[in-house]
Structures are given as C-alpha cells and as structure tokens.
C-alpha cells in the first residue's frame, strides 16, 4: 500500500494548460496594415486586411481588403502606386525596380473601395550594416506528451554594429529552397491497393515560406559598436527539409525606433505563454491613422527600412540532430511547390 502511494505521488502532473472557451464580445472590424518597403530589390508588399473577432477561426475570418488604392509618397515628392496582386488579394506590390532610398522618408496612403482614407506617419530609411557570417545551431524543443523532441536550425548572424548611431534590427527569412527527395519506386495505387512504382522523379527542389511563431528583432543597447552574434531566424526540421541541402536568405532590416517598439510588442505578445511572469496584455499601436476619423483604431505598421541580406546553404551534415526522414512514396513533382530544376542562381 505504502509503495503504491509513493508511486502515485511520484507520477504527479501538476500544472496544465488547456484551451478554454470564452465568449469574447464581437468587436469592430479594424483595418490592419502589414507593409514593409526597403532598400533592397523588390517588389515590396503591403498587405491590407480586416481584423476579426477573437474566437473560432471558422466563423470569423481575417479578410483581405481588396480594391484599395495604395500609394507610397516620399519626401522628395515622388508618388509610387502599388498594384494589387492577382493571386494574392489584399496584397499590393511596388513596381519592379522600386527600391527605398537611404535617408528618405516614406508615407503609405490607402483609400479603400468604400472611400475611406488612411495614412501612415512618415518612416525614415536608415542604412543597415552587412551580415558578416551566419552560424548554425541545432536546437531541440521538447514536446509535451511526446518522447521525440521537435528540432530545427537556429541561424545566428554575426554583425558589426556601427558605433555612431542607435540601431534597431528586424530579421526576416526569405522562403527557403531545398532539395526534396522522394521514392517514386515505392508508390502505391490507392484504388487497387497494389504497388505502382513510378520511374520519375527522385529529386526535386521545393520552395516554401517557413513561418515562425515569433519575430527576430534586436536593438544595439547592449552591443553598440561591437561585433556581435544574434539569433536571427529559425527553420524547423519537418523531416523533409534537411535531407540534402537547403538555401535561405537572412534579410536584415534597419528599422526606425518606433517600428522597433511596435515589433517588440508583437514579439512580446507572440511569446506570451500564460506563465505567472507574463506581462499583462499590451495594446499594440501602429503608425497608421484614419484621415476621416482620428478616433478610429487602425492596426499594423508600415515599415520603411534599409536592408542587407546574406544567403546560406545548409547541408544536412550541418545539423547535429535531425528528424527521421519522411518518405514520400511518389513522384517528387507531386509535392506542392516542388520543381524538377533548381532556381537559376542555385549555387551551393
């Protein structure tokens, strides 16, 4: 009996997190702007959407705002008209060849199809230092209830922070391109339930965006003027990406102080985990205002930034821990986003 009791005591799980049904009052639909133009090659995108009520994703969708007139003005009087993407509704793109100029200030102006007019506060483009080097670090993430951890690669960038100015950094990864290995010889006919090997193709190149639950940002308070190493991105190993080689660009943006504050609030919220040390929810205010009604809340931010980037190829041998390879028993071209030939500039 005593033994049993001790056993129960030892097996105790104590704290827990579970979904909780709350009735969030339906709020207003708020215009949301997610725009970033920079000094690198374009096209740059401004995405406009309508906020939704927090709750079930099926009932309340974040909807794109279509058919708006979107322009960017700079302090030299230039007006750049953005064009809505045909396949990506609600996203508006700068013309080919547009690059933001270091030192210039830009404002974003939007007129919705209903005739409402919005503008951003001006954003000045600061220059971004180069990324000197990128180191890789394999990271394991333990998962609740699973014996195998999740894992991936952390990209640690080395930069020489300029000493003469305050710098605010924002890093974003480009879509990755990786070698995709399939096993068409193991293909199985779903209807007849018999092996139906295909002759082609074993190797493809897949392009995909890798999402992150958070943002990578930093300010040079603690490293002003130093050569420093900062985590600037993370690519999760899904059992497919790291079977051979993977290419990614780390985009580094020098953002304004106000943009940094906004991004920090986004990051803070994205990383809240309900612990007793979480900060209370903060209102995330951006730099967009309504010209018709100054009281109207407009969400999101329009960033104009100086940019630099560094491209790396990651070989599977660079990882110290990898997920078990997922076997794709089909023609590799059947996989979404996969092509037989690599991009023209594929040069590992």
């Amino acid at each position: 009996m005593v033994k049993k009791l001790i056993y129960i005591l030892l097996l105790l799980p104590m704290a827990c997190i579970d979904p909780y049904q709350v009735n969030v009052p339906g709020g207003p639909q708020l215009l949301t702007v997610d725009g970033l133009i920079h000094s690198g090659p374009g096209p740059h995108a401004v995405t406009i959407s309508q906020s939704a009520t927090y709750g079930s994703i099926f009932e309340r969708l974040i909807r794109p705002v279509r058919g708006a007139i979107v322009v960017i003005r700079d302090n030299e009087g230039n007006v750049i008209l953005l064009e809505e993407g045909l396949e990506t509704r609600g996203s508006y793109f700068t013309p080919v060849g547009f690059q933001a100029k270091i030192g210039n200030s830009y404002t974003l102006q939007i007129q919705t199809a209903e005739g409402k007019v919005y503008t951003s506060l001006p954003e000045r483009v600061e220059s971004a230092p180069q990324i000197e080097n990128i180191e890789l670090k394999t990271v394991k993430i333990p998962v609740k209830g699973e014996t195998n951890p999740r894992s991936g690669v952390q990209l640690i960038s080395e930069i020489n922070d300029p000493a003469d100015q305050k710098n605010f950094y924002f890093w974003r990864l480009s879509p990755v391109v990786h070698v995709l290995e399939a096993r068409p010889d193991l293909h199985f006919d779903q209807r007849t339930l018999t092996p139906a090997p295909k002759a082609c193709c074993y190797t493809c190149f897949k392009t995909e965006a890798v999402g992150n639950q958070s943002l990578f940002i930093a300010q040079d308070d603690s490293f002003n003027g130093l050569k420093t190493r900062i985590p600037t991105g993370f690519i999760e190993d899904n059992g497919i990406r790291f079977v051979n080689k993977l290419r990614v660009d780390v985009n580094q943006y020098a953002v304004s102080k106000e943009a940094y504050r906004f991004l920090r609030l986004v990051k803070q919220q994205a990383e809240i985990n309900g612990s007793i040390f979480d900060p209370p929810p903060a209102t995330i205010r951006g730099n967009m205002v309504s010209l018709d009604d100054p009281e109207e809340v407009v969400l999101g931010y329009f960033i104009a930034a100086g940019a630099s980037k560094k491209r790396i190829y990651i070989d599977k041998s660079d990882l110290t821990f990898r997920q078990n390879t997922v076997i794709i028993p089909d023609d590799c071209r059947a996989v979404d986003g996969a092509k037989l030939f690599p991009p023209a500039d594929w040069n590992p």
Partner: protein, 800 residues
Amino acid sequence: MKKILVILIFFIGQASWAQTTSPSKREVIGRDIGQLKGIKISGRIMDEITGEGLVGATVTVPELDLTRVTDKNGGFELLLDRAEYTIQFRYVGYETIDYPITAVGDGRMTIRLIQEDFQLDDVVIFGRDPEKNIRSTDMGAITLSMNTMRELPPFMGEIDIVRSLATLPGVSQVGEASSGLNVRGGGVDQNLIQFAGAPIYNPSHMFGLFTAFNADVVNDVTLYKAVVPAKYGGRSSAILDILPKAGSVSKWGGDLMLSNYSGKISLNGPLIKDKVSILGGFRISYINWLLQSLSNPTVRNSQANFYDGNLVISAPISNKNEFTYSYYTSYDDFAFASDTTISWRNTAHSLQWKSKLSSKLSFEALGYYTLYDYGIFNLSGISDFEINSEIQDLGGKFFLGYNFSETSKIVFGGEYKQVNIQPGELVPKGTQEDILFKKVQNEAGREAGIHFQHDFELGEKFGFAYGLRYDTYQYLGSRVVRQYAENEPLSDGSSIGETSYKDGEVIQTYGGLGPRASFRYSLSKASSIKLGYNKMYQFIHLISNTATIAPSDVWKLSDNFLGPQIADQYSLGFYNNFKGNIFETSIEVYYKDLQNVVEYKDGATLIMQNHIETELIPAEGQAYGVELYVKKNLGRLTGWASYTYSRSLRRVITPYEEENINDGEWYASNFDKPHDLTLIGNYKVSTNTSISATFAYSTGRPVTFPEAKFEYSGINLAYFDSRNQQRLPDFHRLDFAVNFKFKGQGRFFDGNWTFSLLNVYGRRNSYSIYFGESDGSPPQALRLAILGVPLPSLSYAIKF
C-alpha cells in the same frame, strides 16, 4: 542581598516542586513578613518537556479580573494583595492549569505546562487571550500562533505562514503560485514583511509555491491590516511581523519534519545554561523529482533547489536585560531548460536589546541589516551574460514604553534606515566580446521616522489609541537625472538634458505626518464597536508587471518623478463573542484611498531599464469592503468562516490622453476579487486523530480579453483595448488533511503523520487565460492552471 537571593531560590524550588505534585493543594507563596499589599509575584511559564519559555501565555487572576500575557521568555509578574487566589495559566495547545495560591509575600514561581495531545474539547484554535478581540482597542491586528496554523491543512506538506494568513478576511492572494499577500485591496509590495525586525523583500521559494519561512522556528505572526500602530511605518497597506522562537535555556531539543517535497530540522538548547540559548533551523527541498514528473516539457527539464536557515541566539542576561540576535537566509535557484538560471537570496541579521528600566519604563533597541539579491545567468553559448541585482537595508530603531497604569501606556520611538539598490548590472560572460557591460544606475535613499502612541482606557466601556508618526525620506546621489520637456509625456524622445548629483547629495525629499487613531466602545463584556483611521507612507515601489512577486522584480525608490505611495484607511467594526467566547464573530468595513500606485505603460521594459520613469505612470487606487468572520474556538469541531466583499480599483489620469488607461475611468486592479469566502474546519476524531478541511471560493480576478484578432508578419495577434474588463472563472478549491499522532516509546518515536490532499476534486482553477496559438491549433483562449489536479502530500514530524 545575599539572603534575599537564597530565599528566592528556595521559593523557586518550592513552587516548582509544589506544582509538579498537586496543583489542587493551595500553595503558599512568598515569605511572610506581614506584608498586606503590593505583593510582587514573578514567574515563568515553560513547556514541561522542552523547558522553552512560552511566549504569549496568559496568566489570569479571576478574583481580581486581572490578565497578564507572558513576555518573550515566558516570564510574567503579578502585583497582588495578601489573599487566596486561584491563578489560571493558559496557553494555546497546552493544558490549562488552575493553580490555587495564598500570596503572603514577594516570591517567584515556575509553571510547567503540558502540551495537550488532541485532548477533546480543549483545543483553542487561536487567540492567546479569548476576549482580546473584544477588549483591545486594536483594529485588524491578527496574531496567528504556530499552533493555530497547525490546525489548517498543510500546503505541500507543511505549514505555510503566508497561505494561512490568506484564509483570513480581507487578505487574499492572486493565485495558486503567488507568495505575496493582497491586504484590503493593496498590492503585494505594500506590506512590510519583517522577520525579527528586519525587512524581507521576497518571502517565497519556487516562485511562490512555498513560503520562505520555516514554521518550526517561528513563534508567532502578527498581521496588521487596519490601524497599524505608530511604531510601524514604511509601507502603505499592512505589516506582517514574524517573530522567531527563542531556544530553551535549560535543555536541548528540536523538531524534525520530512515530507515528500521538503525536509526540515531545528535544534535548540542552552549555550550557557540558564543564560544563553541558541536555536538553529534548516529547511531544504528535494522538489526536483516533482518537476521531472510535470507534463510541461520545459519545466520537466528544469532544476529547482531551495533552502532556508535560521539562527537565533537569545541571552536573557538578567531579569531586566535581554539580547537577541537573529540570522535568516533563504536561497533559491531555478534552471530553466533553456540554459538560463535564476537564483535569489534573502539575508537578514538583527540584534535586539530589550531592557526593563523600571516596572513602568521599558526600552528596546534594534539594529538590522538585510540584503536581497538575485542573478540571472544566461549560458546558452550566445552572448553569455549574467545580470546581478540587489537591495540592501541598514537600519535601526528604538522604542521607549511607559505604563502609567494597567490601562494607560505610551510608546515613543524613532527609526532610521538607509536603502541601497543596485537595479541591475549586466556582465558579459562569454569568451567572445559580443555583448556590452551594462549597468543601471544605483539608487540610494534614507528614511527616518519618529512616532508616539498612547493607548488608554476610560472605565470598562471606552478604549482609545492615538498615535502620530512623522516620516521623512531623501533620495540621494550619486546619480545622473534626466530632465524632460514640459507638457510632454516622459519618454526617451522628450528628454532635454541631464543633471549630475554627487555622492550623498539630496535629489528629492518627501515627508509627511501619519496619524493613527482607534476608538473602542464596549457594549457589554462580550461585544464592542471599534472605529479606526490611519495614514501610511511608502517610499519604495515594486516594479513588477506581473500580478505576483517575481524573483527578478526590481524595487525602486521614490524619486523626483515618482512620489511616495500614500494610503488613508478608515475602518469600522463590530465584535461579538457568544457562549463564553466559544464563538467569536466580527463585521468590519473599510475604505482605503491610495496615491502614487505604480502602473505601467503598454509593453513597458522593466529589466535593465536606466530610465524607468519613461515606463511608469502613477495611478490612484481605492479599495473598500466588508468582512464577516465567525470562529468557533472550542469543542470537537473548531474552525472559522470568513467572507469578504471588497473592491480594489485603480485609475490613471495623466495630462496626456494617450497615456491614460481605460480613458481615465476606474478599473479593477489585477487582484480585485469581490467575493471571497473561506471555510475552515478541524474535527477531532479521537485523542490522536484529527481531520481538517479548507474550502475557498472567490470571484475570478480581472483579465483583459482582446477586442479583435489581426495578422501581422504571419503571426495571429490579439488587439487589446481596455484593461481588466473581463474576469477569470470563479476560483474554488477544497483541501483536506488527516493528522495522526503516533504514540511510541521514547521521545524520538512520538511523531505526527499528516496526509493532505490539496484541490480534492481536482478543479483546474485558472491562474490566467491568455490568447495565443498552441502547436497546430488556431489562435484561441488558453487557460493555465497551476494546480490542475489533486495534489497529495505526506509528512512526518517529530519533536524531541
């Protein structure tokens, strides 16, 4: 002189001999020299087994309607006329003795009380003096003895001082893992927690799962939640005064407790027999196995360690003078799976000198030094660093007390302290030079106070206590202070210059008068009405953006941007005891007004912040409530019920609209829980078995729900507008414990087995609700429950 001494010794021997044989035989006390009046009988009450003096025991002379409470050594003094008396000696958890004497001359007596082993119908839950609640003029002063706390179901295997207090009306906690107390709508930083007279900044282990005080070395705990005596100051809501035990001057003994979470041992005995005693206590956790069994993988790979230690040396060198030295330390470290370690430590030394200058005049002086420090170590391999922070108090105080009569006494005193804070220092630890050394400017301040209080009674019916305290405070250099543009909110952008102050130079001075007053009118012997008012100043603020005390919280002194917190409290109470004090009841109402409470700007950065004034906003607070309390002191079933209806509100109005919170309207504070009910029962099943249960219910605390969901950079985000407009689900929990006293042969075998089960029906009380994406599921509301399942504990304690 020598002759008198010999006679005294004779009587001491005689008295104790007489006592141990048969107290029913009337004992003649004193040498008969025909004295008729003013016979002075002094004595000491001690534990039969350990020989420790019993502090706070009552000595009642029913014939004269006279009650005395024993001092720190268990000593007492009676002034009697030549007559026969039956003196009653009482102490919580001990057998009461009726001791018949005939007083014929000055003499001395020693009384040894025997601990009752769950004797039926004879357990007093608490209150050293059964009518104290009615008779004293104090308002909202609650003393819990350790014997009382033993009646509550233990929390994680042992008595938890802070949680025991939270069962009382008007006292609450934010959630299940939070160590601080919210007293009558005040924040956790508004309570002065002092151990043996020295302030303690972080009273918790394991982020609040355990209280950092070892109950075995604590004698009693007093919480002042309404009218705080003028001798206490420096915090605006409440005072929690924890006094350690003194060791026995006659005999070695101790306590040992082992539970499935932690273990503790204490030893005490004479260093010099009958002169100097020592008491040492040590408590350590072996909680790691528990962490490893938790389902959260980050926590599972974490490591936690804590310990605390105490040392008390007490030297009652004469009847008139007594010195007590106390040392206290608590240490914690917690290593998160992600290579980050945080450790924190409290250290406190205090030395007290108590002197009885005459039968009416007493003097007390106390000096203390306390240090709280924490460190955060990042050894992840990228930009390795260490952050160190500390706060130090060095201070002293003295009191002079004069008793004009039984019913009229004054206390006069003064206090001075210096506070030094190192808010944070970032030291690079890596081999590469990739992170800068950074230091937030140190802070220094000094605080002084003088006070006076007079307590007196007018006849049986009226009691008065009035006091006045003057506090003054200076914020000192060296420091570089920023200036900000007028008519603009404080921000990095509105900074227009800096002023340098030299070391010790006064930057800002604050001060103020804090009157305290209470009045009691007795309707009868068993009922009274009391009225009270007090004003308190606080020159230090806890900078914490969470609802509880976190080890990494920074304390900040009042400066030229942030004024002192000021609290005004008005209270009114009605007290009634029934059936010969078996039942105690009370109703109290209060209203409290707070100024300069700290609130935070949205997304404020608080750690390593050199210009913290740009992140803070002063707020007003208001709190009010009604507290109902019923307690049953005697019988097989003892316990109490307390219910509080209260509100704690905040308001932020600044000259700048964008900084106002909730448009400048009143809103609920983070710990506003309007309904709060606690039911506690302890039932003696047999002479060696008792069961106890606690049920607690409260309204869920306020939370902020999002107004909208939006997407930025591929992340689903919530847009929050107004703070604290919704509430968590209601909290309720039942705890249960069984205590079995094991009678063995010899003192090493007499032990107490306690089995307790917290959260009996496994309710997942929400600590928080937050909005985010958990792996693979859409953004939604998620609930964190700290104690999501029934939590058993088993402990074994022996006294030797």
